[in-house]
């Protein structure tokens, strides 16, 4: 139902030349996967889809158009819209060049969980109503199949959009899962935490899928590719892997919009979103700042207060 509204809107935008191109989601040969597509003809708009497998953060593609003149329409979920806000704030693109097609998002489905819990399912078996998720008409626990980052979503509604597809959600559907993602690590001792992270970092192959799928990693030359000076070596040793992720997390501090695209992109299933999500939780608590929610407040690392936490300093 929402798809037809979306397609009509897309056709209208292209027909009336409100925009030059539309970046959105298209379907693939595989039932549980979508792909990012770019269209510039009205006929191509029939290819657009909107379903709980639309996992990519499309704001990532805006960097290709930074210096062009195109007017771009972009399909944005809550988290993606926040990413666009951060890009606007960081002067990466001008607002008048964008038409944001907001999507009211019930959360994305994790394919691994799906295969485990519902091996025979097809996309039509699931339905999202305002009261929750339904499988073959019966209500199910979203923890069984939703992405971990979506289970703790605080922005199901895009904070900024030009047109909304779907209805505004009055509360975040998953408030109860807020703590589950990070608490297990909070409760470990220092050595246990290290063991847990070492185990994960051993899996990392340094493919940079996490970095490249992130809309906010748009540096022309990443520190990881720098050879003069070399901060991390190209070899995927566990310590350099962890260093890469820790430094990237510091670069995302105050900018991460918690979309989880990094974790979905990881080919070896490392729960990599936990690192920036923890930093964002700290920033929310101590500095009362959330990236991408408004254009006025200064980025946390570009400002200060007299009474900032300072007990850790001797």
């Amino acid at each position: 139902m929402f798809e037809s509204i979306l397609i009509d809107l897309a056709k209208k935008l292209l027909r009336e030349k409100t925009v030059d191109l539309i970046i959105g989601y298209g379907s693939t040969h595989y039932p549980f996967r979508t792909e990012p597509i770019v269209i510039n003809q009205e006929e191509q708009a029939d290819a657009l889809v909107w379903n709980p497998f639309c996992g990519n953060n499309l704001a990532r593609y805006l960097k290709y158009y930074k210096n062009t003149q195109h007017k771009i329409a972009l399909m944005v979920k809550g988290c993606d819209s926040r990413a666009v806000q951060v890009l606007l704030k960081e002067d990466q693109i001008k607002r008048d060049r964008l038409y944001l097609i907001g999507l009211s998002c019930p959360g994305l489905v994790n394919r691994e969980k799906l295969q485990k819990q519902f091996p025979q399912a097809s996309p039509e078996d699931f339905e999202w109503k305002e009261t929750g998720w339904f499988y073959h008409g019966e209500q199910i626990d979203p923890e069984l199949f939703l992405e971990k980052t979506c289970l703790r979503c605080r922005y199901p509604n895009p904070p900024e959009y030009d047109q909304l597809i779907g209805k505004l959600q009055t509360t975040s559907p998953y408030q109860t899962y807020q703590k589950d993602y990070l608490d297990p690590i909070d409760n470990l001792s220092s050595e246990e935490r290290w063991d847990r992270w070492s185990k994960e970092m051993r899996k990392c192959i340094r493919c940079y899928a996490c970095r490249n799928s992130c809309p906010l990693c748009y540096c022309q030359e990443c520190f990881a590719d720098s050879t003069q000076p070399q901060w991390v070596s190209p070899a995927p040793t566990p310590s350099d892997n962890f260093l890469f992720h820790l430094v990237r997390t510091m670069h995302m501090a105050g900018r991460c919009v918690e979309c989880g695209a990094c974790e979905r992109a990881c080919p070896v299933s490392i729960p990599i979103a936990q690192l920036p999500l923890k930093v964002e939780a700290i920033i929310r608590e101590q500095f009362q700042f959330e990236a991408g929610t408004d254009q006025e407040s200064a980025a946390p690392l570009l400002t200060y207060r007299e009474n900032d936490p300072g007990d850790f300093v001797k």
Binding site: W194, D240, L243, M250, K278, V279, I282, L301, D308, V313
Partner: protein
């Protein structure tokens, strides 16, 4: 019990205008403090990129000390305020990642606080020594540079 003869190597990033001067004062005043630090002078604590701290740990530093001017006294007005925020986040992240909290230290030492500087260094060395040589985040390749 075997007495360990291992001594930690601490990399100290000192801001030129306050902490470095404070360390210098400690020196000319002949104040005694452990010789474990290796000083790197930076213009301001706000100029310290977290990458430097990571690099120090990567190269095998057993501990890192970052020291700047007191809040309100920064030679560049507000550099240390930004530093305070940055390092708060960095420390929380490193501790959450499983790095021992006592390996990374921060302090405000002014140019006249030679005594404080020697106390800070003593405190840092005493905190790092029981942790043993750093092995987390140390690069696997040992070469001369």
């Amino acid at each position: 019990m075997i007495e360990s003869s291992w001594e930690p190597k601490i990399v100290a990033f000192l801001c030129h205008w306050c902490s470095y001067a404070g360390a210098d004062l400690a020196g000319v005043s002949r104040m005694q403090y452990p010789p474990n630090i290796r000083v790197i002078r930076v213009p301001c604590s706000g100029a310290i990129n977290p990458l430097y701290i990571f690099k120090a740990l990567r190269e095998g530093a057993d501990g890192v000390l970052v020291s700047g001017c007191h809040p309100g006294d920064c030679h560049y007005i507000s550099g240390n305020y930004y530093a305070r925020r940055k390092f708060y986040i960095l420390k929380e992240l490193l501790v959450w990642a499983g790095i021992e909290a006592d390996r990374i230290h921060f302090s405000w030492v002014s140019a006249s606080e030679g005594q404080k500087f020697s106390e800070v260094v003593t405190e840092v060395v005493n905190a790092v020594k029981p942790l043993g040589p750093s092995r987390k985040l140390v690069k696997e390749f040992s070469t001369d540079v």
